[in-house]
Each structure stands twice: as C-alpha cells, then as structure tokens.
C-alpha cells in the first residue's frame, strides 16, 4: 500500500486535521459575524462600545471553541451525547432555581464572565442525542410506535422546561428541530401528518382558552399574537415593535440609505435594536440587496451543511449535521419572519449577527461538530 493510498482512506491525524477543515463553511461563518459587527457598530452610532467590542471577543472565543470541537473525533461527540443532554437538562433545572430574571423570563445563569442561557445548549444537545439514538436504533425499528414515542419524550422534556421559563420562541425551535431529525431518520410520514393535524387542533384550543381559567398562554403572549394579526390596532403599545420595524425595513428601498445613514431604526424607541431587531437596521441601511445577500449567505451555510451530511456515510454524522442545519435555519427564518411581520414577536435572535453571547458561542460549538464530522468522515479506499 502506498503512502498516498493510506492517506486517502484513513482520517487525518494531529495538526494535519486543520487542512481538512471545511474552510468554505468557516469563511461563511466569519462573513456573517462580520456583518453583525458592522451593524452593531452602526446601531451604536459609530462606536465600538458598547456592543461591538464584547461581540468580537465572544466571536474569537467561539471560533476557538469551534476549532477545538472540530479536532475531537466525531465518535467522541456521539458517545457523550447522552451526557450532554442530561447536563443541559440539569442546567435548565438550575436556571429555574437560581436563574436571573431578564425581561420577565428566567433564562440566564450568571457564570462570572458571561451569562449562560442553558436553553441554547439544549438545542444542540437535543439534536446530538436524537442523532445518536437513531444511529443506535436498527433501521427497521425506526417507525415502530414504541421507538417513536421515546424520542418524542426526549424532545418534550426540555421543551416543557423551556416553556416554563417562559420562552415560547425557543420551545417552538426545540420541537421543530427535534421533529426534523426524526423525519430525516426515516420515521414514517404518517406520524408527522398526525402531529401537524394535532398541532392545528392545539392552536385552536389555545385561542379557545383565552379569558378562561385554564388560559394556556400569558396575557402578553396573546397580546403579541393580536398585534401580529393586526398591528395597527395598538400602534403605541404592543404593536409598536412590528409597525416600527416595518417602517424601517420599507424605508430602506432597493439599495438602502447607506452605511450609518439609517435613522428610522435608531431614532425610534425599539428597545431591542441591537438584538432581535438588528435585521431592520441592515435592511434599512443596505436595502433589499443587503437583506437578500445576508439571506443568501445563510442559505449557503445550509447548503454546505446538507452536502456535508449527504457525504458523511455514518448515520450519526449525517443526522447531527442536518439537525444543526435545521436549528440554524429556524433561527434566522423565525427571526426574519418576525421582523417582516410574518410571525409574532417571539424573541428569537438573528444567528451570529444579533448581540448576545450564549447563542453565538453555542452555534459555533455546534458548527465545530459539523466540522468534526467533516474531518473524520470515512474515506473511500481507492482500488
């Protein structure tokens, strides 16, 4: 066997792994984050404080995490997925007990240098566990009721904990991402049809419950849905965000007002202009072209992930990559829909762009797993 052949069919080792990183994906991630820095700089009125500086630091830290995670063989991540899941559940319970209340919800644990949002960790841990589960489960059992019920329970436990915080946005994300992985694993389509039908039933139940004793959502959540359906009925109160957001977006036009020239999104009272509503600033300053460009970069990341998932021959790698891709997709799809008035305001950040530490760090860690799967994929032996 020649030296070349040896290298073609075995995975790289040591520092050689760096050469086998998915550099395209890495570059795309750096690009998206840079867009974020740019917008935070603009929102702060042309200043590195208070947002750009910490954001860059966290991004650097996140990249480091991504590389370290990528260097570790993918089977290690498969083997610890149960632990990761249990750990994230423990964190969710801890936040329930000791968490800091921010904007009315109990979401953070203060760990000194940053605030950790355990629900972020949960999203990835859940995807890992489900991928590992289907990797272990013989394919012919995939659609048997008992073996379907188990992953459903695994999804619902963290969802319930997150919903209690209360964080509706994240709980929807958890269910959708978990369902996505199950779908990919080959669970029979009939289950999904049934769940979607039941979901529609639940939604109507939620609306029926309004005003009764067993009201299923908080009043403010109902208000948000109301104003989503008709923002004009309360332009000063809860409809304020959506109206202002649409004005900002619309005034951007084809090519925008130019960098640092956006006034609409900075002049108004939008309190989350640097977090959930940062897309309005981008759309106002860089217009339709800027918005579509960001959307395309996001979609490219998804395409890279899908390609990587199909190329990976082992089941865990494929599923975990796809699961992470779905989570990532849901992040920006929900955020953009919300900003454009297509979905109610549920508090989901724009991934890698919005100001905030936990989400970025966890996403980069997740992409580290994608990279690890890419590096450690089985190579075809040349004949």
């Amino acid at each position: 066997m020649s030296y070349l052949e040896y290298h073609a069919k075995s995975t790289p080792t040591g520092l050689r792994k760096v050469l086998h990183l998915n550099w395209g994906l890495t570059l795309l991630l750096i690009t998206v984050s840079s867009v974020g820095f740019l917008m935070l700089y603009s929102v702060a009125g042309g200043s590195f404080s208070p947002w750009v500086e910490p954001q860059v630091k966290r991004f650097a830290l996140g990249l480091g995490v991504m590389f370290v995670v990528a260097m570790i063989p993918i089977w290690f991540w498969r083997n610890i997925s149960v632990l990761a899941y249990l750990g994230s559940l423990a964190l969710l319970v801890a936040v329930e007990l000791f968490g800091t209340v921010g904007m009315g919800a109990q979401r953070w644990i203060d760990i000194g240098f940053m605030r950790l949002q355990p629900s972020e960790v949960t999203k990835i841990a859940l995807v890992m566990l489900l991928a590992a589960y289907y990797d272990w489960l013989p394919a012919e059992k995939t659609s048997r009721p008992l073996w379907v019920l188990l992953p459903v329970a695994l999804i619902l436990i963290p969802t319930a904990l997150v919903l209690k915080q209360p964080d509706l946005g994240t709980s929807i994300l958890l269910m959708a991402a978990g369902g996505g992985v199950m779908f990919l694993a080959g669970v029979h389509s009939a289950y999904f049809v049934a769940v979607i039908a039941a979901g529609a039933g639940l939604v109507s139940a939620v609306f029926q419950s309004r005003g009764t004793e067993w009201q299923l959502l908080k009043d403010y959540q109902f208000r948000r849905i109301d104003t989503f359906l008709d923002p004009s009925q309360d332009p000063l109160g809860a409809g304020y965000h959506i109206t202002q957001s649409k004005i900002a977006l619309g005034s951007g036009g084809w090519s925008g007002r130019g960098f640092m020239q956006g006034t609409q999104s900075r002049l108004n009272f939008l309190p989350e202009k640097h977090t959930d509503f940062i897309f309005t600033t981008l759309a106002e300053e860089f217009g339709f072209i800027g918005g579509v460009t960001l959307l395309s970069i996001y979609m490219l990341i998804i395409v890279f992930c899908i390609a990587s998932a199909i190329a990976a021959k082992d089941r865990f790698s494929s599923l975990v990559i796809m699961g992470i891709a779905i989570t990532f997709f849901l992040f920006f799809a929900v955020n953009m829909s919300m900003v454009m008035g297509l979905a109610p305001v549920v508090g989901v950040p724009l991934p890698m762009v919005s100001y905030g530490g936990s989400a970025m760090l966890v996403l980069l860690g997740a992409f580290g797993i994608v990279q690890s799967a890419h590096i450690h994929r089985p190579r075809q032996a040349s004949r």
Partner: protein, 648 residues
C-alpha cells in the same frame, strides 16, 4: 452490533432523499422571505417615498400627568409642577464641551448632573436630547432662551415634576418618585414604552410605588414630521394622554403635621386611627426627611447623612418597625384568660414581686410586689406576676389566637412599603422557626409582651381601636380614587363577649384616671373626653443576675440604644370611642413618662380638631403645656400650597 450493510444503505438513501426534500422546503421558505422583502422594500417603496426623502413621520410619546394626592380635607400632598430643564442634542451642538462651558457661564450647572449627562451621552445615539440641568428657575431658563443662537443644540424644555409641599410630614406614607432606572426596567415584564421617555418619573417607595398602577396614567402621543437628523419639522397631530387618578387619603394633614412636630427629634412613631371606620387620621414616623430630595436624585452627601443617622430617618417605623409590645399586650392576655374561664374578673392573684416558673424567677417590675391583685388592679398598676400566672393557665396558643383577633401578627393590607406582619408566637411557630420546643417560661415572657412577641405601632393602634369598639376595625389609608369612595374599615363584631371587653376597658380607664394608675399624670380632664389607655415599657436587653444583684441600672444611665422602648396605647372618649392612638418612642425609657404624654397630646389635638383648650389638661401642667403649645406653633412651619423645597 452487526448491521446489514444493505439496510444501512437503504436507510442512508432514504435520509438523503428526505434531506434534499427538507433542503428544498428551506429554499422555498427563503424564497418566500425574499419575496416579502421585495414586497416591503421595492413594491411598497412608493408608500415610503415621503419617508425615504428625509421627511418621516415619527411618533413621540407624551408623558401623562401623574395623579395628585390629597388629604381628607382636600389639602394637597403630592402635586405636579412645571419644571424647566435644559437639554442638548450632541449632534447639533458640534463641540459639546464648548457649549457646556458657554452655558455654565450663564447659569449654574451642578457638576454631578454634568457627570451624569456625559455618561448618558456616551451611551445614547448623538441625535437624542440629553438633559444637562433639571428643575431650573424661570430666570435662568429665560437667560438660556435669549442666548439660544450662541448655544447650538441647546433647548430649554418644560415638563412636569413631582413636588411634595408637605415636605417631611408624608415622606414615609407617600414615599417618593424618581426617574426610571435600568434596574426598574429589568424587573418588569414587557415594560410600557412610556417608561423609555428619558427621566420619566415613577413611584419608588411608599404609596407612590404601591399605587403606581393608577397614579401613572396613560401616555398620549403626537405625530411629528422629522428630518434625517431627527429634528422636528412640524407637528401633525396630537392625542393628549390620560392623567393618572387623583387619590384622597384618610389622613388629616393638619393633624399629621402636629404629630410630626410633637414627636420632634425623638426616634418615634405615632398612629391615630378612627375607631368607627378605621380611617388612619395620622401616621408619623420620626425623624423624617424631605422626599423632594429624592425626586431629583439625592446627592451622595445628603444620602449618607440620612443612612448614617442612628435614628434611621429613612425607615418607616409605623408599619415597618416592630417592637416588643410590652405591657400594652396585657389586655390581650387578660381577654384570653377571661374568655377561656381561667380567671374571673374579681379573682385575685398574689404578687410577692416575682413568680417561680420552671425553676426560674420571673420578676414583677415592682420588686416589692403588688400584694393581692385583681384584673382591674393588674392593668391599672401593670402588675406582671398576675399575667405570668393567668397566661400559664391559659396557654400560649389561645393568647396568640386572641392577639390575631385584635390585629396583632396580621399583615394589614395598606398601600405602603414594607408593611410588617409582626410575630405572635405559638408552639408550632417556635418549633418550625427555631426547631425548639416551647417552654413554659416563653409563655410567661409572652404574657407581658416580651420574648418573641413583636408588633408594629400600626398594629397597636388597630388593637386599641378593636378593644374600644369590639369590632374588627380595619385600617384604611386610601379614602377615594378619582372621587370614588373606597370601602370603609368599620368591620364586623369580634367573637369576644361584651362582658370581658367591658372589664378590660374598665382597667384601661383606671390606668389613666385612677390616682394610682400608671398614666394618671397624662389624663384628659373633661368628663366627656376621658381617655382609657395602657402604658408599656419594653426591654431591649436582658438584665443579668449580676446587674440585678447590683441594683437595676436606671434607664437614664444607659447608653441610648440600650434603653427601654416606651409605648402607650389609648382610645377616647371612654364613653363613646372616637379615636385610638398608639405611640412608640424608641429607647425613650418608661411608657408612662415618654410615650403617654405624647399620646395624650395627640389624642386631644385629634378630639378638638385643632389646639385643645388648656382646661383639658390637669391643673398642675397647664403652664408647661401652654409653653409647649406655643413652641410647637412656632415650629410647625406653615406651608402654603405649592411651596417648593429648598433644593428646587
């Protein structure tokens, strides 16, 4: 685990198909988003044309006027007055520091305010106005207006600010407002946009904070056309906000003012309650402070002065402070004993000056003892041994139950900050909070209002009102909201026999009107105004055996913070109770000496609705009282409506 490679391939194929399917869905959704973006940004661009050409419609919130607060006679306690402030838009100013320098040569600027403004400037975008000086006089604001051309970016603005014309009299009741802080916002779920208005005032403590919901009002809005730098071009239309609800308190500001002056510089609390309907006529904690200082943001030096004062001016001793009620608790012990048939009204107990309980000596305050003591004498002369004896026979749980009936150990629902519940110990309470068993000695201590027993001056006043009427009188502070009368606190009859109540009231009558009563010197003379009361002296330290051997040290010889608390509770007129009063003087020494005269003066002031005639006082005291009345008259500064604090 062995797996069939064919199955594995099939599964992978299925996964690939489904991954491509999901990818397709995602692409379609992204396409939808792009289409929506195109719709908003390109197709609807015409609709935003006007806005895009540098003139946009902007919604500005108009802060609502805060509800005003009045006393029961319509005298104003909290009002809004126009306040002028100077703001600067850094972007328009160019060199901000140069403008500030020019400005400070015209009007005096507080360095602390400037520091705050500079921090704010760093945080907010350059086109938002920053307040440089707040609550400026008319003369100064006109100077700024005249020199406007030389001061780019500077605007004199008019707004409303909270003013408390009664100064310290209502500081503990009303509390104060202050600008919304980041901390306030972080505590709220879904804060209203109006709170984002810079320097918007909200209630921070006391009534202002507790009834923030109704006092705040609803924001109005104006639509203005603004250019790209955020400068207002013209106003399109405006909708005024709805001002907050006006509130009327049950307090009589005149009486409140008298009581505050009468308490003087003592660390003390006094509560006057209407026995008939539970209206709180006066509720004073002393020393007090000027709430106007907090409205603007108190200076570090002023704040330190308040927090470092031994007499704790910031704490509201009337509802927040709890004290061992001492002998003022004896009525409750007596009622519990009578109602449970442990002792008859005529039955006597032998008081040799102490009682041995479980091997320990419990002393009476009178070392020599009171001899044979019946109920009336026990109250009149405040014999401790009588209560040790009947309490041990009654049991602590029944005594505590009786105390709760009379409003002790109950958290009264008043719109004030930090209303304390106090403690009426029971066996179960001690084992759950200390993990220890109840001792018989604890019962002896509790029977005379010592040990674990704690009550606030408010609770003591409620207790007196309930003793006087036999009904469960509930304190009421808020008389009406926007003219709508709030429910009265008259209450239902208590499940206590009228006979027992009459015996106890008779004892309280003797305290003030019998030559040998502990408060005889603080009696009220006219027959139709006669007062019934009870003195209390509660220890804040343990008297050690060594101290007792050396002879009990007199209160006057102790450092202030180790002296006894002085208490007095009373109601009057005895025949037809109108008011109940409770007075606590922290570390004041004996109740008969330090608290009873204050309570009597306050009671007379309330009964006569103003300065009482000298004939109401015992003959011997009249010349001294006359001097005191004149002194208080001088000290009670007359505060005309709308007067401003010294800082304003």
């Amino acid at each position: 685990m062995k797996r069939n490679p064919k199955d594995l391939d099939a599964a992978h194929g299925k996964m690939t198909r489904r991954a491509l399917f999901l990818g397709g869905l995602q692409l379609a959704f992204a396409g939808g988003l792009a289409a929506r973006m195109r719709y908003l940004q390109v197709d609807q661009a015409d609709e935003f044309r006007l806005l895009a050409e540098e003139n946009r419609i902007n919604i500005r919130l108009l802060p609502p006027a805060r509800g005003q607060i009045f006393d029961r006679n319509g005298l104003i306690i909290a009002q809004n007055s126009p306040s002028y402030r100077i703001t600067v838009v850094p972007e328009d100013a160019g060199d901000v520091e140069a403008v500030i320098a020019k400005l400070s040569s015209l009007v005096p600027l507080d360095p602390e305010d400037l520091e705050r403004a500079r921090t704010e400037m760093r945080r907010s975008p350059p086109f938002l106005p920053i307040t440089l000086a707040d609550q400026i006089g008319w003369a100064d604001i006109s100077k700024v207006a005249v020199n406007a051309p030389a001061l780019p970016g500077v605007t004199p603005e008019v707004g409303l600010t909270r003013v408390y014309p009664q100064l310290g009299d209502f500081a503990h009741v009303i509390g104060y407002v202050g600008p919304v802080s980041d901390y306030d916002l972080s505590k709220m779920e879904d804060p209203e946009p109006v709170l984002m208005i810079p320097r918007f005032q909200i209630g921070k403590v006391g009534f202002e904070a507790r009834r923030e919901d109704l006092l705040r009002g609803k924001a109005g809005a104006k639509r203005v056309e603004v250019n790209a730098t955020g400068r207002v071009m013209r106003e399109l239309d405006r909708r005024e906000g709805i001002s907050g609800a006006d509130m009327q308190l049950t307090i009589d500001a005149e009486l409140q003012n008298y009581v505050q002056a009468r308490l003087g510089r003592e660390s003390a609390a006094a509560v006057v309650i209407d026995c008939e309907d539970g209206d709180i006529r006066a509720i004073c904690s002393s020393p007090s402070f000027d709430p106007n200082l907090f409205v603007r943001g108190i200076s570090v030096a002023d704040y330190r002065e308040l927090t470092e004062d031994n007499y704790r001016p910031l704490s509201n001793k009337t509802v927040q402070g709890t004290y061992p009620p001492g002998s003022t608790f004896k009525m409750i012990t007596a009622l519990a004993a009578l109602e449970n048939g442990v002792v008859g009204p005529e039955e006597t107990v032998w008081c040799p000056g102490h009682l041995k309980v479980a091997g320990r000596r419990f002393h009476c305050w009178k070392r020599a003892g009171h001899g044979h003591v019946d109920l009336n004498t026990s109250l009149k002369r405040s014999c401790d041994v009588y209560y040790y004896d009947v309490a041990i026979k009654t049991g602590i749980d029944k005594i505590s139950e009786m105390a709760n009936l009379f409003g002790l150990g109950i958290k009264h629902d008043l719109p004030m900050s930090a209303v304390a519940q106090g403690i009426t110990p029971t066996k179960a309470w001690k084992s759950s909070s200390y993990g220890k068993d109840w001792l018989i000695g604890d019962t002896a201590n509790s029977s005379i209002g010592q040990g674990y027993m704690l009550a606030s001056p408010l609770q003591l006043a409620v207790m007196s009102a309930r003793l006087a009427t036999g009904r469960s009188v509930t304190p009421r502070l808020l008389k009406s909201i926007d003219g709508v009368e709030q429910p009265s606190g008259a209450g239902e009859p208590l499940p206590v026999s009228e006979n027992s109540l009459r015996m106890v009231r008779r004892g309280m009558y003797s305290v003030s009107n019998d030559r040998r009563g502990t408060a005889y010197r603080s009696r009220i003379v006219p027959k139709e105004m006669e007062m019934a009361g009870k003195t209390g002296t509660s220890q804040v330290r343990n008297i050690t055996a060594a101290e007792r051997a050396a002879g009990v040290i007199r209160n006057e010889d102790l450092p202030w913070e180790r002296r006894d608390h002085a208490l007095f509770v009373c109601f009057a007129p005895y025949d037809k109770p109108k008011f109940a009063v409770a007075v606590v003087v922290e570390h004041g020494g004996g109740g008969s000496k330090a608290a009873a005269p204050v309570a009597r003066d306050v009671m007379l002031q309330a009964l006569y609705n103003g300065t009482p005639p000298l004939e109401a006082y015992p003959k011997a005291d009249r010349s001294r009282i006359k001097a005191q009345q004149e002194r208080l008259e001088r000290e009670r500064v007359k505060r005309p409506l709308g007067s401003r604090s010294s800082r304003a």
